[in-house]
């Protein structure tokens, strides 16, 4: 079964600060199988973004180990981590972080430029076109980023995250900066694309409705895993009930 585990965390701790120490994560141990859509929820400061950043190889844990596809991230130096992110991970952040100096197509192509170190070939450009078309930006391909709406920009960011066909998509409040309607559309799109490609996705969200669409929900409280729910298995209502309950449903976080 080990082949099916894409991501594994072993007793991950994260402590911030030198003099005044603040522990954001406590002994997190968990596994994520390939192809799963996992939603991380929890109140502000619960450590869910910290966890996502550690999984995304953007941050290093204070102790503990992170394995992605069997690769121990601790064994990679900063430049190797950067290459790893480029090759295997797709990021979608709350703020789109596109480069205003480039147009939509160029922004989508950036991961390929970084990876191949030269001008993208015809195939890659075609893929970028395809992705922009898929996210509904057929007409905006050559537009400057500043001329696009917030929703459109986030769609460009999604297309960019998908360009290198990542093994794992990490999304941190991808709709946090959008209005509800636009946010819903973007989420719908993200869910569809994920389903089509069968890519594993971990999404941090505040929004319970969004979380209920995931295969699995994990709630963090004060830096520890508290609840785990499979809404597609037990049904939405049952899942909501568990989430509203104050008690944690995971007795021993380490065994998860």
């Amino acid at each position: 079964m080990a082949d099916d585990i894409l991501l594994e965390l072993r007793q991950v701790n994260k402590v911030y600060g030198q003099l005044v120490k603040y522990q954001a994560l406590f002994d997190i141990t968990m596994k994520v199988p390939r192809g799963q859509f996992l939603a991380l929820i929890g109140p502000s400061g619960s450590g869910k973004s910290t966890l996502l950043n550690i999984v995304g190889a953007l941050d290093r844990p204070t102790s503990g180990e992170v394995f992605i596809q069997g690769v121990n991230l601790a064994s990679l130096d900063d430049d190797e981590l950067a290459r790893f992110r480029n090759q295997f991970l797709g990021f979608i952040f709350q703020f789109h972080y596109l480069l205003p100096e480039f147009n939509a197509l160029e922004n989508v192509l950036i991961p390929s430029w970084i990876a191949t170190r030269r001008k993208p070939g015809k195939e890659i450009i075609e893929r970028a076109y395809f992705l922009l078309k898929r996210v509904g930006l057929e007409k905006e391909v050559y537009k400057k980023i500043s001329l696009l709406s917030g929703g459109q920009q986030q769609r460009v960011a999604i297309a960019r995250a998908l360009l290198n066909s990542p093994t794992l998509i990490l999304a941190d409040e991808p709709t946090g900066a959008l209005d509800t309607k636009t946010g819903d559309q973007v989420l719908e799109l993200l869910a569809e694309i994920r389903k089509e490609s069968g890519t594993t996705m971990i999404m941090v969200t505040h929004n319970r409705d969004v979380a209920l669409r995931a295969d699995r929900i994990i709630e963090l409280i004060d830096g520890q895993l508290c609840k785990e729910v499979y809404p597609q298995r037990i049904g939405k209502e049952e899942a909501e009930k568990i989430l509203e309950d104050h008690a944690c449903n995971i007795e021993n976080v380490n065994t998860l």
Partner: protein, 407 residues
């Protein structure tokens, strides 16, 4: 990585247009002033040196214990005072032909001219003057003193008992072409000569004391029996003189080798301090330009903090992001200094035109020296690259997670 970094660097510069234009203008102004200044100084110095030693020997091979009078200092010391010490009989070069044979094999020497020099008194009617008799081979001496061009009256030919006299001496003694004059040498012999021409070497001392005559004739009247007094040499690169002199000293250890520098110390130290101040100014211009570039790029790092953060998050390595800024520095430096070179050349053209229009008021020309032009462009580009180091390091230090967390 490099191509991608170059692309991002270019876009960054293109997008912050006004910032880029201002710093480019700054570099352009700085570099053009550098180029103009260095050309001006080198033009001025070349002119000064040319005027000082252009028609004088650059190196003189002299017998030991004898001071050549041909090297006249800037202050124009009176030649006769140099000759005040009695000429020693032994102070001569006994056989110069083998000497010149050796000398001719040294490539950098442009002119090698044997010279017989001695004192004399010239008489015409009642008047008499002390003179310096210069026995030369005209074809050779002409290449140093440009005698033929500078003969005002008569014909510039030496031979038989003909002589060339200076303008002032001619006026003084009311000498005209084909006049006879009597020269008495220190040993008491008197001889008559015919004035073949009157020259103007643009130096009053020379014009009133020097008399040129044919080398064999001079040897005869001074009883030198084939010996000569000095060998005068001109070289192509005047500032190579010390090096060449050292080589000559090796070849002829028995003789004194004197260069034009020995008699022009003041000029040289003036040139040196002029060069030094010019380098100082250039250095500070370069420093100001470098600081300008650095400050623009440092600001741009904080302006682009989000972009750099995301580029790092999606896989740009530290080398990659540092390249983005180093390349920006290099682009600014290369474009700015190239523009500066063009502007500098235009300034020099303008100056040349002004000099031409001034009708001789500006007596020297400045020319662009492609080598120093290229050097300034290269140095400025390197300085810009250097200016980009600090911003590049900032970009390396930037942690993507912090940018992302803070929005």
């Amino acid at each position: 990585m490099f191509a991608f970094a170059a692309r991002v660097a270019w876009r960054f510069l293109k997008n912050s247009r006004s910032q880029t234009i201002f710093i480019l203008l700054g570099i352009t102004v700085g570099v053009s002033i550098q180029i103009f200044l260095s050309s001006l100084i080198s033009g001025l110095q070349a002119n000064l040196v040319e005027r000082t030693v252009g028609d004088a020997p650059h190196i003189i091979i002299a017998p030991q214990d004898r001071t050549p009078s041909s090297i006249i200092g800037l202050q124009g010391k009176v030649v006769s005072s140099l000759l005040a010490s009695p000429t020693k009989e032994e102070a001569k070069i006994p056989s110069w032909q083998p000497l010149t044979d050796t000398i001719d094999q040294i490539e950098q020497l442009r002119v090698v001219s044997p010279l017989v020099e001695g004192q004399g008194v010239v008489r015409k009617g009642e008047r008499s003057r002390t003179i310096v008799v210069k026995g030369v081979i005209l074809e050779r001496a002409d290449q140093i003193y440009e005698l033929r061009e500078r003969v005002l009256d008569g014909i510039p030919i030496l031979g038989g008992n003909s002589v060339l006299v200076g303008k002032e001496l001619a006026e003084d003694l009311q000498l005209k072409v084909s006049d006879l004059l009597e020269i008495t040498t220190p040993n008491g012999k008197a001889r008559n000569f015919i004035v073949n021409g009157v020259f103007d070497l643009q130096n009053q001392n020379i014009n009133s004391t020097w008399v040129f005559l044919d080398l064999p004739l001079a040897q005869t009247i001074f009883n030198l029996e084939g010996a000569i007094s000095f060998v005068e040499i001109q070289i192509d690169e005047v500032f190579q003189s010390e090096k060449i002199a050292a080589r000559l000293k090796q070849e002829f250890p028995d003789y004194t080798i004197e260069t034009w520098q020995t008699r022009n110390q003041q000029l040289l130290s003036a040139l040196r301090s002029q060069s030094l101040s010019s380098y100082m100014i250039q250095f500070f211009i370069l420093l100001a330009v470098t600081l300008g570039i650095a400050s623009v790029l440092v600001v741009s790092v904080s302006q682009k903090i989000r972009e750099i953060g995301i580029l790092k998050a999606i896989g740009t390595t530290n080398t990659g992001v540092s390249f983005i800024f180093l390349i920006q520095g290099a682009i600014l430096g290369l474009f700015g200094s190239s523009l500066g070179a063009l502007a500098g050349i235009s300034l020099i053209r303008l100056f040349q035109r002004a000099a031409a229009a001034s009708g001789g008021a500006i007596s020297f020309t400045i020319t662009t020296n492609p080598r120093s032009l290229l050097l300034i462009v290269i140095i400025s580009t390197l300085a810009s690259l250097f200016a980009a180091i600090s911003p590049a390091r900032q970009a390396i230090k930037l942690v993507p997670i912090e940018v992302i967390r803070n929005g």
